[in-house]
């Protein structure tokens, strides 16, 4: 069986900097794959190329075997790729449930319907999705007044609206309290297992990564330097070097 997502030799430069350099990896259905690395490693660039926001200089991104490079983000979304953003936000002039309904309306290709009231479209489905993320009690509140953690949950419900095969989550727990982080990731893990969705997420909190990722890949200066289970990556000397330094540089500086 072909894996859900296959990334091959993905490369992108900005000026003289190779932000992402020949990166290849795979992701299966039902798997949570963490993309980690220090700041500037190329995580976001990698993300934006998979989602269609950035065009790679070379390389392939295959979804269920089909190359999706060069497609617009909204076409990639139609193929079943949902995404959440690093700085979570909603359509602030809508209520919580309207945000989810908007995504359902778009999924059903009813964006240009101009007659029946939007409120009547997919209200039950939207309520179901909100129930899945535990936000159904807030359905009719304006989304602009939600607490940040709740916004993240709504975003997740929106991302699930088109029944994605693949979910891209850019730092899903950034800006959250430790307790909230664990809740959100446990929720995500439960939902992807139930729906058999593959998840690729970037994350700075190592606690979250080691607690929830099935596997991880490590980027540094645009290159993929390690991948595998938590233990394998933790013990990888290259990974230790980029995260903790080799010790040599420190020693040299001291002696100099």
């Amino acid at each position: 069986m072909t894996p859900l997502l296959q990334v091959r030799d993905l490369t992108r430069s900005f000026g003289g900097v190779r932000a992402v350099d020949n990166v290849s990896f795979e992701l299966a259905r039902g798997e949570l794959l963490a993309l980690i690395g220090p700041n500037g490693a190329g995580k976001s660039t990698c993300f934006n190329m998979i989602n269609g926001q950035l065009r790679p200089d070379s390389g392939e991104v295959r979804l269920d075997g089909e190359n999706i490079v060069g497609r617009k983000p909204r076409d990639v979304w139609r193929l079943g790729v949902g995404r959440t953003f690093q700085i979570a936000a909603t359509f602030h002039s809508m209520t919580v449930i309207e945000n989810v309904q908007m995504a359902l309306i778009s999924h059903a290709k009813r964006t240009f319907h101009a007659w029946t009231a939007a409120a009547a479209h997919f209200r039950d489905e939207a309520r179901d999705l909100l129930a899945q993320v535990g936000m159904d009690a807030h359905a009719d509140r304006p989304s602009s007044i939600l607490a940040y953690g709740d916004v993240k949950r709504v975003e997740l419900a929106v991302a699930l609206a088109n029944k994605p095969k693949l979910l891209l989550m850019d730092e899903p727990t950034a800006g959250m309290a430790p307790r909230e982080r664990n809740d959100l990731m446990a929720l995500t893990k439960r939902l992807v297992t139930i729906n058999d969705i593959g998840v690729l997420f970037t994350e700075h909190s190592m606690d979250v990564v080691f607690a929830f990722a099935d596997r991880m890949i490590v980027l540094a200066r645009g290159k993929l330097i390690a991948q595998g289970s938590g233990e394998a990556v933790r013990d990888d000397p290259k990974v230790r070097e980029v995260y903790f330094g080799s010790g040599r540089t420190v020693a040299r500086r001291v002696s100099a």
């Binding site: 359509f91 002039s93 908007m102 995504a103 999924h107 101009a114 009231a117 939007a118 602009s144 929106v158």
Partner: protein, 629 residues
């Protein structure tokens, strides 16, 4: 045409570029730092001219006195600018961007009447500077020496501004604030002082431009609108906030205009093209081309994000019982109006005008509010509807009813073409491109005598016999207006209306759930164009004649004022706003000769008291009243 004539025209163009640059540089500085689109900048220019006239006629006999008078005029205008900033603008920095525009528009009305009161309506011809009264001969053609002086002054001011911005601490602050004013504030810079001083500098430059322009053009009451139009174009072409860009754009536009005059009548492939006529539209064509190719202007950069985005809109809800009852009462009152006030009464005629205005404002609000696209040229679709209906009726011999049906189609076609370009831009740039298209339509109508009757317009556009009485026409207008409003309401509550707001709230996120911004906005633009076309068609047949005034900038501005006055957050807003505005305009205009100033004062008052528009403010008041904290 001889090469010599061309050369002299080009020199003439350079002289024109200098004053153009002075106004534009000030406007650009003010926008860069305060993010205020200062509509009153043309008025400051005009004040510069008039004050300079008064000073020069008193102390301008000698060379020293003359130039002292010019500088003094600039200082006076700078002081006025500082006062405006302190007394008015400072109170509304927190208001939505467009509200500030509304306030500065009100200032233009006030300045108009102040100038009329102080200096009268005569054009005032200023004397030339002593020592620069003669002309030199270039290839046998006369060129005033004063123009030569102007050619030098432009780059001189550019140089001084450059030194100011790069070599002084104040200049560094201005540049920093242009990039990120929140950060500058966070670093402990006194914003109030910075903003006032920048506004004063910008105003002073406009005043200097006005004073220097006096020997070339007499001071007159129409200067403000021409100047602001030109300055906007130059700033947008050069790139908002870029002083060298403004200089480059001023040169480009002034030279293209000069070239048009120099070329004169040219026949090309059997067509006679009159280039001097092209000057009216040249700058707007240049702007349209530049914006399409380089959306940030020649030397501009993408605008930094402004973090305080003002009010976050509440989710839309259907009208409550109270509002429904008020609506029903108003409708009932309108239905009996011709019976009570008399079918041919002034009230009925005024009511027709107001209903047309309401439809116009509602269509504009549709793209401005939920669509988030600020159109400064909505009169284009009004004019297209009006002229389309009138021409189909008069020239194509269509029955009136059919011509009226065609009006929205014509408006829609215009919006289809212009919208395609406009929706690729955003913010001020989009606004300016809409303005450019409106001006292009205006000048085509103004100059195509054979078809449109030019400045005389089209007369004899009367409705069919069954609609000939004012009462009958009133009912037709009422029906179409109410139908239009209900249609807009329907669309706003439907998925498409939500999609428009989704794109406005966040285009990036809309894209991530499969909603393409361009298609949605384009569609919205076209719908607004069609509805506005109906208003235009109704207008043409209600007046019996139309003129290019139908498409003028001032009509577009009226539309903006109506929408903003009412408030942008609700559909009731444009209705309340247009009714308020038109009744004010009508009643104030009948009360006093100085109706503009009074209207301006009323608008400023409303802006200060109702910072979210009338309807928006009442909405939040009633919310506060109903919901205990």
């Amino acid at each position: 045409m001889s090469l010599a004539a061309l050369f002299v025209q080009l020199l003439n163009g350079l002289a024109g570029a200098s004053t153009l640059f002075l106004i534009a540089a000030g406007l650009s500085l003010i926008f860069g730092v305060t993010r205020i689109v200062n509509f009153a900048h043309g008025s400051l220019f005009m004040l510069g001219s008039y004050i300079a006239y008064s000073l020069i006629t008193r102390i301008g006999g000698t060379g020293l006195g003359y130039w002292a008078a010019v500088l003094l005029a600039a200082v006076c205008v700078a002081t006025i600018g500082a006062l405006i900033e302190i007394l008015l603008l400072r109170r509304i920095y927190r208001a939505p961007e467009l509200f500030q525009l509304l306030a500065t528009f009100a200032l233009t009305l006030i300045v108009q009447d102040v100038v009329l009161q102080l200096w009268g309506s005569e054009n005032l011809v200023g004397p030339r500077a002593p020592g620069l009264k003669s002309a030199i001969f270039v290839f046998g053609r006369a060129l005033p020496t004063y123009d030569l002086a102007l050619i030098l002054i432009g780059p001189l001011v550019l140089g001084l501004l450059w030194l100011l911005l790069t070599r002084t601490r104040w200049g560094v602050l201005i540049r920093a604030a242009t990039q990120d004013r929140d950060m500058v504030a966070a670093l402990g810079v006194n914003q109030a002082v910075l903003f006032t001083s920048v506004f004063a500098l910008g105003a002073g430059l406009a005043g200097l431009g006005g004073a220097l322009n006096l020997p070339r053009e007499p001071a007159n009451l129409g200067e403000d609108i021409t100047a602001i139009g030109d300055a906007f174009v130059v700033v947008v072409v050069g790139g908002m906030g870029s002083i060298p860009g403004a200089f480059l754009a001023a040169l480009l536009i002034a030279e293209i205009k000069a070239l048009c005059i120099a070329l004169g009548q040219v026949s090309f492939l059997g067509f006679a093209i009159s280039f001097p006529q092209f000057t009216l539209v040249a700058e707007f064509v240049v702007m349209a081309i530049v914006l399409v190719l380089r959306p940030w202007g020649l030397l501009g950069k993408p605008q930094g994000s402004v973090r305080s985005i003002g009010q976050i809109e509440a989710p839309i809800v259907p009208a409550g019982r109270m509002l429904q009852m008020i609506g029903a009462a108003v409708l009932a009152a309108l239905l009996v109006l011709p019976l009570v006030a008399g079918g041919e009464s002034y009230s009925t005629v005024l009511a027709i005008d107001i209903l047309v205005g309401v439809l116009f404002a509602v269509s504009l609000h549709f793209i401005m509010g939920p669509g988030g696209m600020h159109s400064f040229g909505h009169a284009a679709y009004f004019g297209l509807g009006a002229y389309g209906a009138a021409l189909l009726f008069k020239d194509a011999g269509m029955p009136m009813e059919l011509a009226l049906v065609a009006a929205p189609i014509v408006g829609c076609l215009g919006a289809l073409i212009f919208g395609w370009f406009c929706v690729r831009l955003s913010g001020v740039y989009l606004a300016m491109l809409t303005l450019a298209f409106a001006q292009i339509v205006w000048s085509i109508v103004f100059q195509w005598d054979e078809l449109t009757g030019g400045s005389n317009g089209i007369i004899g556009v009367w409705p069919s016999p069954w609609l000939a009485t004012k009462a009958a026409y009133f009912y037709l207008t009422l029906t179409l207006c109410v139908a239009g409003i209900l249609l807009v309401r329907r669309i706003l509550f439907a998925p498409f209306g939500y999609a428009m707001r989704a794109v406005r709230d966040s285009a990036l996120r809309a894209d991530a759930i499969g909603i393409g911004a361009v298609r949605v906005q384009w569609t919205g633009f076209v719908i607004a164009g069609a509805i506005c076309g109906i208003a235009g068609g109704l207008f043409a047949f209600s007046k019996g004649s139309i003129s290019p005034e139908t498409i003028s900038i001032s009509r577009s501005v009226d539309g903006l004022v109506m929408v903003l006055l009412g408030g942008i957050g609700t559909l009731v807003g444009p209705i309340v706003g247009s009714v308020t505005f038109l009744i004010l305009q009508d009643s104030v205009a009948r009360q006093t000769e100085y109706w503009r100033a009074l209207l301006g004062l009323v608008i400023i008052f409303l802006v200060l008291v109702f910072p979210q528009g009338i309807a928006g403010t009442i909405q939040s008041w009633s919310k506060r009243a109903w919901k205990p904290a």
